[in-house]
Amino acid sequence: MRERTRVGITQMGLVTPLGIGTAPTWEGLCAGASGIRPLTLFDASASRVRIAGEVPGFDPRRFLDFKDTQRLARVGQLGVAAAELALGAGALDGLEREEVGTLVSSGLGGPDAIFTGVREHLEGNSVSPLFIPMAMTNLAASVIAQRFGLAGPSYSPVSACASSADAIGLGMRLIRHGYASACVVGGADAAINPVVMSSFASMRALSRRNDDPEHAARPFALDRDGFVLGEGACVLLLESFESAARRGVPIRVEVAGYGQTSDAGHLTAPRPEGDRVARAMSLALADAGLAPADVDYVNAHGTGTLLSDPAETRAIHRAFGEHARRLAVSSTKSMLGHLLGAAGAVEAAICALSIEHGVIPPTMNLTEPDPACDLDYVPHHARHQSVNVALTNSQAFGGHNVALVLRRVHAADVGAPG
């Protein structure tokens, strides 16, 4: 039987509330820094929630020409910025552009564009032709493919807060099954918008710790009161081991397994038993050919909402059995906030960095854990520990559960020449 094509990450671009680029994001996470601040993107003085994780100092002129700074919805701007960081400086050299796919997702697309279009309509005007392309959730995928001339398969799988985890898994499968030799994958979301935030606030999903932004995101803590909305983007270049070897490019970390399930239950509330989330993790491990005991680190979905954290904890117990007690589990949303459709890709990148650096970023603000949340959440301080296998969870409104397994690559795996 022909050996299965293996797929790994060769390039990475991150734009997050902790900074523009991989280094500031990773260094911030390891230092336990917070990207949550009073929000500035709109006047929130009369809003119930006045804090968010905005990308600090984002100047689109660094990445875009003047026309696109005026035209592109912010989600597209953040996506292009992450893509430039990942793919600039000849990172695609030696790849046949028709064999490179682009799967970049967004949970909400361009709510700012929708907001503007609705206002034009209510004022009695015809709506700008840019409304449709700027509001569509596939904007980032489209502009990234255009910018880099990537002519392979291109789309944006949408599964709310699991969107970019699905983009990675599906991109991996396109390569595995021979439909592409490489895929630009990831996600972008820019939903810090008064309409979006008002709805999340009415759902009681957002923390209202307005006077203490740095400590507002409190996953697994007894006094948590919801997630903090963040914005940002992550773009990864996935490629087959063969393609990377041909180009002489190192595989940084393998994307080894992908599992998906659906709660098939409530529109927004998770199944309290966590059984379907557990099954997504088990499927991802089986896809990677690994056992639960092989996993060192789980980057939890860990939003800090009342219902989600205990359900995910139960799911980890179900999937890992006794090994759940030995696992390191952390929620980096305690520092970044929740980047919605970009979260899955950002957290997969964090797993990859954790494997590369041998450091597990902490869960911050976990002063008193909820008794229903009884795992080792790596509280307060990063942990220096060798990580061979990491798993990242994404659970979305709509009941979509996704798990990805990332694995350290050894020299023998990539068929070193000779």
């Binding site: 003047f66 035209r71 005007n125």
Partner: protein
């Protein structure tokens, strides 16, 4: 009667705000394509003019526009027709 000058001013303001282009500095032969002004740009400015001046532009006519001169000729024709 629509005022050509006022319509031309609106087009100039649109190009300045969205493309950082000075209409007055362009010759009539300048190709819009070379300015990065594509069909979405064209229909954005057309929508703006239709909203503000109650004009009507035929799509087929606008898609034939290639140069700054073509565009200004159409605006002028709209004003004299109105």
């Amino acid at each position: 009667m629509k005022s050509y000058d006022s319509i031309r001013r609106d087009v100039a303001a649109f190009l300045a705000a969205n493309y950082a282009i000075e209409l007055d500095s362009l010759g009539p032969e300048t190709k819009l394509e070379d300015l990065g002004f594509d069909s979405l740009g064209m229909f954005s400015v057309v929508t703006l003019l239709e909203n503000k001046h109650a004009l009507k532009f035929e799509s087929s006519m606008m898609l034939r526009v290639r140069t700054v001169g073509d565009l200004l000729d159409i605006l002028r024709a709209q004003c004299s027709a109105a």
